[in-house]
């Protein structure tokens, strides 16, 4: 069957020589199409005797397969070449900017509040809230600050207007988050552990004060909670919050009407060239006020002071945010300057948690 070898050589050459898909199709039709040369030979097999048909059939089939494979391979090669050609024309300036996506941010105060909520619940605290317009009973009296107590004057209180004829003492914008202590104890009784973060208001506006700021109150009442527990709790908090290996706190005796004994708490830090570092150095900075809840306060909130005792503390949220994140000016917190929000804000997905590290 020399004819087959010739055919094979001819068609393989034709396949290799096809310049494009159309040329290739011509070759296919000529060889394997219905009226193609090989198809014709296949059709001729029927007229052969069985012996010869068997031999010729086998070689014809092999030829057909080989040419078919060559056609397919060539087709792929041609398509590749065509694509390569096209890609050469498809050039874009990829240094152009991508389509803009807005980048939102979370305010540092919100971020720090969530950090508090990551840390304190691990020590058994839940989160309580209270109204920002308060009656003077919750803001003062219940906290052992009677009407003529000098501490009332030191609070620089904002008072709400009283309608003529309404002879109740005017409500106040809460001057601290401490009234939430009272509300939480009245609602839940003892034992109790809560923190209460939120907005507070004082009539003060200068370089370092704004008439609104944020505080977090902490309260833990049980049978035997001591000031030593308070110190531990604050040490643990500061270590976790400032994300340092150790912190050192110093308690100083002080006075708050609602705690007895009372202490102001300083934290050890260093300041090298304006760079603050918590936990080292030889400087002390006051960060919060605290103490053992005054029996009169427990009583006002319906908790029996002969059975229960515990601590409370109050801390400025904006202030610890400034310390931790190196934010210089309190007033800028509330100005909503876009540049500030973008610079000091946090990414939407930067949710603080203990496992991943608060600011990781």
């Amino acid at each position: 069957m020399d004819g087959i070898d010739t055919l094979k050589a001819r068609y393989l050459a034709a396949v290799a020589g096809a310049a494009d898909e159309a040329g290739l199709e011509e070759v296919r039709v000529a060889a394997l199409g219905k009226k193609g040369e090989i198809s014709a030979l296949m059709a001729g097999l029927g007229k052969m005797d069985p012996e010869a048909r068997k031999a010729a059939g086998a070689s014809l089939n092999a030829l057909k397969d080989e040419i078919d494979a060559a056609l397919r391979a060539r087709k792929v090669a041609l398509a590749d070449a065509a694509l390569d050609e096209r890609l050469k024309t498809e050039w874009l300036d990829v240094t152009l900017p991508g389509r803009p996506r807005p980048r939102g941010t979370v305010h540092p105060v919100s971020q720090v509040m969530e950090e508090l909520t990551a840390i304190f619940p691990d020590m058994g605290f839940s989160v309580a809230e209270g109204p920002q317009v308060e009656s003077d009973w919750y803001n003062f009296d219940a906290l052992n600050i009677p009407p003529e107590h000098p501490a009332r004057q030191e609070h620089d209180t904002f008072f709400m207007h009283r309608a003529p004829g309404d002879n109740r003492p005017p409500h106040v914008l809460r001057t601290h988050t401490s009234p939430v202590q009272i509300r939480a104890m009245m609602e839940r009784g003892a034992p109790i552990r809560v923190i209460a973060p939120g907005r507070v208001y004082r009539m003060d506006m200068d370089q370092t004060h704004t008439p609104m700021f944020h505080q977090v109150e902490g309260l833990a009442i049980d049978r035997d909670i001591s000031m030593a527990n308070l110190k531990w709790c604050l040490e643990e908090f500061c270590r976790a919050f400032f994300e340092v290996d150790k912190v050192e706190l110093r308690f100083r005796a002080s006075h708050f009407p609602f705690t007895e004994p009372s202490a102001e708490v300083d934290i050890r830090y260093s300041n090298t060239g304006g760079q603050l570092k918590i936990g080292e150095g030889d400087k002390w900075m006051e960060i919060l006020g605290s103490g053992m809840v005054h029996p009169k306060v427990l009583q006002a909130a319906g908790v029996d002071p002969t059975q229960w005792q515990g601590f409370a503390f109050g801390m400025g949220i904006d202030r610890i945010a400034m310390l931790k994140y190196g934010i210089p000016d309190l007033r800028a917190f509330f100005e909503a300057d876009l540049r500030w929000l973008r610079h000091y804000g946090f990414s939407a997905l930067d949710v603080p948690d203990l496992a991943g590290g608060l600011s990781a």
Partner: protein
């Protein structure tokens, strides 16, 4: 409260250094706010002798002095230094004060350097009082007596080497407003021994002719005890140098011996006193309530108009003194005073505080009386001051006149040593606890404890704990771990609303908004633009006219922030805030809002043409995204009953029945203009608490139902009146077959002039795509036709429109 070290040492026998004293004070609760040590400034100035002063060869007004100095101090080597001096009194043999090169001269702020003045070397300075900031005297250099010890530091020679300590005294500690009380705390801490104040009554040489009478209504509350006496024949010159130095050191201006003595008692013993010039007092002194409209020219030169409830000390001429707060000008002592009436009284703290506040007078006397002075020290204070007046001003004392009696403050509390340990968490021995209280002046009878008369703040057992704890030193407190409330992994503690607030915040930030925190109070005009600004939410004493009313909504704060940012050139903004808005002035009249504001364009200009102006559908999409994140149901109603600060045609309320979940839309152009924001501006407000709690009570999801059968989509276009809302058509189509129709979406609308030209005036076209999802068998063409017919019927019926040909 300021005092000097030497003053403290009059009351405390101690060798402790200033540093040790300061540290102890801070730890005791008397926080040191500052220490001024004059050595730092004046230490380098030493006493020198001018060996010879000769005329400067090149300057008429200058002299060249050879000065003998003693750089190593008295008895050390002497060193001759040449100094050019311009003082007229620089002369041979003068004993003066020398500052070597390198010294900082406080009066001029100059650091001395060796120099050449008109061709003559000068290596230091002979100083005037002004250069040392001792006085304004700059007429010449300081001239000391010829026996002044050469080489001695000038501050030591002049007794200026007395560090000034300033402490912050908490309002509960009036006793620490006197040096003696401070010394008592330090002695209790073990920093020395308290020197007792010994009082020897001064016998009256003659009957005091001025009687004192407390009005009966003031005897129970106001002025329980008033005492005084006349001292005749005094000479009221300047007070002695040592007293002036102390008063100056703590920032008081010496006036005259009599006045200085009262100030000295105020700060030394927390015993404010008053001196009347007896020659100007007519008749007896009456302590009585002020009468409406009475006026008094006080010692500060201001005239005060008084009201009943305030107390005066009056004579036949009328009020002479504002009791416990400030004396009157008319009866004040002057250098000519020869007869003085010395007053020592106890005033009710509450009355004094109220009067001081009403009249806005801040005096050292008010400060002390309103915190509470020692009621038992009224007479001893009077005796001590009498003695000092006799010692410093001469004269003779009359008998003591008084009305009322010292307030009896006797009360007892119980010391429970075990409870002290339990509360403080420090092991303080019972004996130590008792010693501490005794050192502070408490008397113990077993465990019954009587506080001293000078501690009005001790009002319960708990106060004893504090005294013991602070003297024991809280600095020594060691932290002790607190037991977990429950074993194991902590339970969730946030309330559903707290969780939602966090979710809303993170979602809105993820949508590209920057979170702002703005003030809860805004100006009246902005508040009224947003439905607020009533008296119920008015702050009675606002700090500025920009902060007078509680905000009724978060948008005014965000719009004001937008205007500020636009003024800085940031025109495109996405701001949000989550926080309380107030609908009334009662506690609890607040609700949590989440508000977002988009202003300007969606993006900066870019090569892809991304920039476009924000519109209502941006705000709507964001509101819907937040509602979805908070678990709001997807089927809601949208109505147009918006508040007046929204654009009436381009805003909507997302609600569930009567319950409003959110409002979105364009801000009303008039509001934008009033708030100075350059639009477009769109916003949303979400009322987080109004979103119903999700129905699912379990984290398990319902089973996923998916069909293998091919879904079919069919498009419909309807011609409707231009004010027909798309949602009406969508809901009508949805209702055609609730099982088969999986979703209905608006995919196009055709409105405007071209649309009206095609479809008739007042018409528009809405195009819907309906997705049919068969559940058990593939749909036949006939079935699809049947559903389509029903959809067309429903929509045309609901909208009054027609299928678009």
């Amino acid at each position: 409260m300021k005092f000097t070290l030497s003053w403290l040492k009059d009351h405390l026998d101690t060798d402790a250094t200033v540093e040790a004293i300061a540290e102890a004070l801070t730890d005791l609760g008397l926080e040191v706010e500052g220490i001024e040590d004059p050595t730092a400034q004046l230490g380098p100035f030493r006493i020198c002798r001018v060996i010879e002063a000769v005329q400067h060869p090149n300057a008429d007004r200058l002299r060249v002095c050879r000065v003998e100095t003693f750089p190593d101090g008295p008895g050390g080597r002497s060193e001759e230094v040449q100094v050019v001096c311009g003082a007229p009194n620089a002369k041979t043999g003068l004993i003066g004060v020398f500052a070597p090169p390198g010294t900082h001269v406080p009066g001029t702020g100059v650091d001395l350097k060796p120099g050449v003045i008109r061709g003559v070397e000068s290596n230091g300075m002979l100083c005037s009082e002004r250069e040392l900031m001792l006085s304004d005297n700059h007429d010449g250099i300081i001239e000391l007596p010829s026996d002044a010890p050469l080489g001695v530091r000038f501050i030591d020679y002049r007794g200026l080497n007395d560090p000034v300590i300033e402490i912050k005294v908490t309002p509960n500690r009036p006793d620490a407003l006197g040096v003696h009380g401070i010394a008592r705390d330090l002695a209790a801490r073990g920093l020395g021994k308290l020197k007792p104040v010994s009082v020897t009554p001064v016998p009256g040489r003659f009957p005091t002719p001025i009687a004192v009478h407390i009005a009966p209504e003031l005897k129970t509350k106001g002025c329980p005890h008033f005492a005084g006496r006349l001292i005749r024949g005094v000479k009221n010159g300047p007070s002695p140098d040592w007293m002036q130095a102390r008063l100056k050191a703590i920032g008081l201006r010496p006036i005259s011996a009599l006045v200085d003595i009262t100030n000295y008692f105020t700060f030394g013993l927390n015993r404010p006193l008053h001196v009347f010039d007896a020659a100007k007092v007519k008749g007896d002194l009456h302590i009585r309530p002020a009468r409406e409209g009475e006026t008094l020219l006080a010692l500060d030169g201001k005239t005060y108009t008084l009201t009943p409830g305030q107390m005066v000390i009056a004579d036949d001429n009328g009020p002479e003194s504002l009791a416990g707060i400030m004396g009157g000008e008319a009866s004040g002592c002057t250098p000519e005073t020869t007869d003085v009436f010395l007053e020592s009284a106890y005033w009710d703290p509450i009355t004094i505080a109220a009067t001081g506040r009403a009249l806005k007078i801040n005096s050292d006397a008010r400060y002390r009386f309103e915190r509470g002075v020692d009621p038992a020290f009224t007479l001893p204070g009077l005796e001590l001051a009498t003695q000092m007046i006799l010692d410093l001003c001469g004269g003779e004392a009359g008998t003591v006149v008084q009305d009322g009696a010292p307030l009896d403050t006797t009360r007892t509390y119980r010391l429970d040593p075990a409870r002290v340990v339990s509360l403080v968490g420090m092991d303080i021995a019972e004996a130590t606890q008792r010693e501490t209280l005794q050192a502070l002046g408490f008397t113990l009878n077993g465990n019954e404890v009587t506080p001293p008369s000078w501690r009005p703040d001790i009002l319960g057992d708990a106060d004893l704990v504090e005294e013991v704890a602070r003297i024991a030193s809280l600095t020594k407190l060691q932290g002790a771990p607190m037991a977990r409330t429950q074993p194991g992994v902590p339970r969730p503690i946030l309330t559903p609303l707290q969780v939602r607030e966090r979710t809303a915040r993170r979602t809105i930030a993820a949508l590209g908004y920057n979170e702002a925190v703005t003030y809860s109070f805004i100006d009246a005009r902005s508040a009224s633009l947003f439905g607020g600004g009533t008296d119920a939410v008015r702050v009675e004493n606002p700090i500025s006219s920009e902060m007078t009313h509680l905000r009724p909504d978060l948008l005014p704060g965000l719009l004001a922030a937008a205007a500020r940012n636009q003024a800085r050139g940031f025109m495109d903004l996405a701001l949000f805030e989550i926080g309380p808005a107030f609908h009334g002035g009662e506690p609890g009249d607040q609700h949590l809002h989440a508000a977002g504001l988009l202003v300007g364009a969606t993006a900066p200009r870019d090569p892809h043409g991304s920039r476009r102006m924000v519109d209502v559908f941006d705000a709507k999409a964001d509101a819907e995204a937040v509602l979805a994140a908070l678990g709001a149901p997807s089927r809601v109603q949208i109505t147009r009953k918006v508040a007046p600060w929204w654009h009436p045609g381009r805003s909507g309320v997302i609600g569930l029945g009567p319950n409003t979940l959110a409002t979105f839309g364009e801000i009303h152009p008039r509001v934008l203009q009033a708030m100075d924001v350059k639009g477009p501006a769109v916003a949303f407000t979400i009322l987080i608490a109004n979103i119903p709690a999700p129905k699912a009570k379990t984290p398990t999801r319902p089973a996923l139902a998916i069909s293998d059968l091919q879904a079919v989509e069919r498009d419909f276009a309807f011609v409707v009146d231009s004010k027909v809302e798309a949602l009406t058509a969508v809901n009508a189509a949805q209702g055609a077959d609730k099982t088969l129709i999986e979703s209905v979406r608006v995919f196009d609308q055709f409105t405007g002039e071209k649309a009206e030209a095609q479809m008739g005036p007042g018409k528009k076209s809405i195009a819907l795509t309906v997705r049919l999802q068969p559940q058990d068998k593939t749909l036949t063409e006939a079935e699809i036709e049947a559903v389509s017919a029903k959809i067309i019927e429903n929509v045309t019926k609901a909208t009054g429109g027609t299928l678009r040909a």
